[in-house]
Amino acid sequence: MERKGFVLKGTSQAVEMIIGESTPVPEMLAQLADVLRRRGEVMARLPFVVEPGDRHLSEAELAQFEEFFRAQALDYQLPQPQPEADPAEALFPEPHVDPTIVVDHTLRSGQSVTTGGNVLIVGDVNEGAEVHAAGSIYVMGTIRGVVSAGGSITALAFAPSRMSVGDVEYAGEDDGAREGRRARTVFVENGIIHVDIAGKRR
């Protein structure tokens, strides 16, 4: 038998319709019509209670349920419509970014990485290489090339040819790429660029 997008649970007072997370409403209703055709006489006397669980039903979807139950001449109870939540806000408190990319080698002159998310580079970013990320950049090595990030930039040593964080261009000097290999993070706060030992922030 075809997998249904819902589970029916009968009690003495009602038929609970627990709906799945992804099946589209029209498909679900077609499946329900099929069930009613075959076993309708058992359920027809009881009201249907639609139980959405974690699923958010839009007003249009609720209207589809309503129309269906009316056409079937069934008693029904639908969940209260909820205000339309901003899906981006609900799932990602921060602006949505792609997942982190891992580059497992040194980026050499002429190689480049551009991503809508974060990037982790296990190696150096050499002179003539470029990394551009909408999120943050993490370099387990020395930055000598061109890097720009929407978030922050963390590296073991900084000697970039050009570097920008957010809209701010970093004009810092070569910090002596060979001195004490302690990771540092470059980030922007209130429009001002800061450099701090990595992990110390917040």
Binding site: R108, S109, E127
Partner: protein, 262 residues
């Protein structure tokens, strides 16, 4: 089956051809049979550096295009008693004329008869470089202590890695201790740090190399100079031995330090 090694650099004028001739020569002193192939079609030089320009009849291109056999085209170097051979580049063709599949096939066949086959790549990263690196299992990257040379070498190593040639060893050439100690040029440590590849040789800036090259004489076979010692070190390292880098040692013997104190 011999080892096929490309000698390359990206940048021109760093000493690829001279290095090819001398490392090849040094290996013959260790009893190896070596073939040097000039891949710089249209701008051939290796025959001059080896002093064989008058002996070239057929070129590698003639072999690739079936006008001559490899045996007919190969030229023997004079001093090495047949252990060192040259396949010259055609001066009448362009690099685009090299068919990479044919090059790969021909080099694989030649490698059967030698311990080492060196491909002397042209400068640049275009077709000539592609054809030179395609048959190679290993690369020698020649780099001088200059920022320009290091950047180009970095690019070339990246390209070689993309092609699957992951074994790249560095030869730091024209190493001028005086300039480097005055911090006017990069040290070999700086270069290795940026390029992240194995160091296999440091060749001092030695006027004897220039003179020998212009004479058409392979220094490693004809004289004993600091540069010859460096080429021998590279040959030994290619053979798997661990040796130091004479060009990097302080150069002050205990005796001279004692004298200075007086």
């Amino acid at each position: 089956m011999g080892k096929v090694i490309v000698v390359t650099s990206g940048k021109g004028g760093v000493g690829k051809t001279t290095t090819t001739a001398n490392v090849g020569g040094a290996l013959t002193k260790l009893g190896r049979k070596v073939l040097l192939v000039d891949m710089d079609v249209g701008l051939r030089n290796l025959d001059l550096v080896m002093g064989l320009e008058n002996r070239v009849v057929y070129t590698f291109m003639d072999v690739l295009e079936g006008r001559a056999t490899a045996e007919q085209a190969m030229v023997r170097e004079k001093r090495s008693d047949g252990a060192l051979m040259l396949l010259a580049a055609s001066q009448l063709h362009n690099k685009q004329d090299l068919d990479i599949d044919k090059v790969r096939e021909a080099i694989a066949a030649l490698a059967e008869d030698f311990d080492y086959v060196f491909l002397d790549s042209p400068a640049g990263i275009e077709h000539g470089f592609e054809a030179s690196s395609a048959p190679a299992g290993r690369a020698l990257i020649v780099v001088t202590p200059d920022v320009t040379s290091v950047r180009d070498a970095d690019r070339v190593i990246g390209l070689l890695e993309n092609k699957g040639v992951r074994d790249c060893a560095l030869i730091v050439n024209k190493y001028d201790r005086v300039l480097i100690e005055r911090k006017k040029q990069l040290t070999s440590d700086d270069i290795v740090d940026v390029l992240g590849a194995e160091l296999i040789g440091v060749v001092p800036d030695d006027k004897a190399i220039i003179e020998a090259t212009n004479r058409g004489d392979i220094l490693a076979l004809s004289q004993n100079t600091p540069a010859t010692a460096a080429y021998m070190e590279i040959a030994r390292r290619l053979e798997g031995e661990q040796t130091g880098f004479a060009a990097l040692s302080t150069g002050r013997s205990l005796l001279s330090m004692f004298r200075r104190q007086k």
